[in-house]
Symmetry: C2
Subunit: 326 residues, 2 copies
């Protein structure tokens, strides 16, 4: 294998603090609104890409199994895009492995397409600035754009491809905000995010959610800058409920919550009323991400673990962006 | 007691199919949007009112106990309004009794203020048309306006008091639509509807919900007329989720659901996917109202009863409006 034609990259998934839901352009995955997230330490996808002139088709292995069907087509389309940019015409051998379950509301497609983008571009010899890598990652999965830069990240929106990239708001060392993920289900969700994004426009609430986004983005940016968990928690929890409102009122309706999801929401509100600084956010799935600072970490993890229906609590700190590791 | 100065009335609570949430005028309780409901048989409030010149203050007994505090003040204000209309100056003895628990999302204030309005007006000698009685009831509790007319009822909205009254869309004998109420809590809710209505405007979603209301009202009216449960169920379920979206995203947030509320929503969706015609709606509380027709009643009641956390299932058919009974 020619080492100049191969590369390996690591990327972390991210948790959105201000959610992205719905596209203004489906083909280009131009988000309906800007979003803010941070990368999650401990959880990662490592992807190797090698362009091999002798291959007659892309060879794709994801988590130890050959990729098939729609998932494989999506990766091939992404490789085609990078081939077109670089002039590289060979087919690729891709081996990708994540250390967390896919399709459960932890954004596995984010780390997967971020790592694939960095590895494939490097293997092609493309040396691109971060904003361009982020735009390419976005074409594979909208939230993957946010797994490219370091730490706390904003994905801007815009009417054109060149405007919709993510950039770092603060390094992962800026603030030790902890995400305690209460896993309540490891089942793949019945309706994936790509289909969900398409349904967003069918909700009578989506436009109002999008129009109010600048206010929430500004409040979130400021709270990150000032490391103000109370203000952050308020806007993050409202933002997540706005997204789930759109999901529930789409046609057909998307109800990602399980009974235990509501149990955790109430529990965290009760803790907060007793002075514990913690807030919830929920991605497109039933798991609840509980945000806190290091000082309350033990109390939050212990409290979440005791809720019937919570299978495991994963603790993540802010993490760096996607990087080539070999 | 002078019988010309006393009267007794019966009124039923109602379940809103298209919800009313938020007022355009708090003092007059002019609803932000029109709503549609039907009165619930079996559940009722019976209220006697006697104006007694010798009383120095209104004497109020509700469900066997003297009314106190804010609840008493609200009734006195309502009596004052009726006294002002009629010229009657005596204080009143009011005895009211409901056969269902208050404050659990079954609109006890609706039947209470409807029965109070009919009894007090009759006791004063006021003979008013239904639309006027409905407007008076509305001043006590918005949804009480809908418990005045017969059967399936629409409460119109408008910029002035005279425009906001309820009228019957179809008699209670028109369609045997059954409401199976899964009681999951008998606890009074922590935040009452009056406070909830005031919070509606703090949600970024309320305006969009209100602006989309004409579409839902028209679909609901037509579905009632055509006795089309499938169409009715779709719009009713979406409408209720729109209201709870506004509640959850208000500031402070109102999360009326319990874990079992979500369990029931999923369960009914699963039944529907297997061909059982049923739909859910949820008032300002955690109980779920499951709508079906007589043919599936047994199956729905049995299914709901087997869900852990469902304490009791109350079955209600469409009922007449508020009437004087003595």
């Amino acid at each position: 294998m020619d080492s100049r034609l191969s590369a390996t990259a690591r990327a972390h998934p991210n948790i959105a603090l201000i959610k992205y839901w719905g596209n203004r352009d489906e083909a280009l995955r131009l988000p309906a609104n800007a979003s803010i997230s941070f990368n999650l330490s401990g959880l990662e996808t490592i992807t190797s890409v090698a362009f091999e002139p002798r291959l007659t088709a892309d060879s794709l292995e994801i988590d130890g199994l050959p990729a098939q069907g729609a998932a494989a087509e999506r990766v091939v389309r992404h490789l085609d895009h990078i081939r077109a940019l670089s002039g590289q015409r060979a087919r690729a051998r891709v081996v990708s492995r994540s250390n967390f379950p896919a399709g459960t509301g932890i954004a596995s497609s984010a780390s997967a397409f971020a790592a694939l983008t960095v590895a494939a571009c490097a293997a092609c010899g493309l040396s691109l600035p971060e904003d361009h890598l982020s735009r390419i990652a976005r074409l594979g999965s909208g939230s993957a754009a946010r797994s490219i830069p370091d730490g706390f990240v904003a994905l801007e929106t815009g009417a054109r491809d060149e405007q919709a990239f993510a950039h770092s708001l603060a390094a992962h060392t800026h603030w030790d905000l902890v995400d305690c993920i209460a896993l309540v289900s490891r089942e793949p969700k019945s309706v994936g995010s790509s289909e969900g994004h398409r349904r967003a426009a069918t909700s009578p609430l989506q436009l109002a959610r999008v129009e109010d986004a600048p206010r929430r983005l500004e409040a979130c940016r400021r709270a990150i800058q000032e490391k103000d968990l109370l203000t952050l928690g308020e806007v993050v929890e409202q933002d997540c409920l706005l997204m789930h409102s759109v999901m529930m009122t789409s046609r057909p309706s998307l109800l990602y919550w399980l009974p235990v999801t509501v149990h955790i929401l109430h529990q965290v509100r009760e803790w907060r009323s007793h002075g514990l600084a913690a807030a919830c956010t929920i991605d497109a799935g039933p798991n609840v991400h509980c945000l806190c600072e290091a000082a309350s970490l033990e109390q939050v993890v212990s409290g979440l673990s005791h809720i019937p229906g919570v299978g495991e609590v994963i603790v993540c700190h802010p993490a760096p962006g996607a990087t080539r590791i070999s």
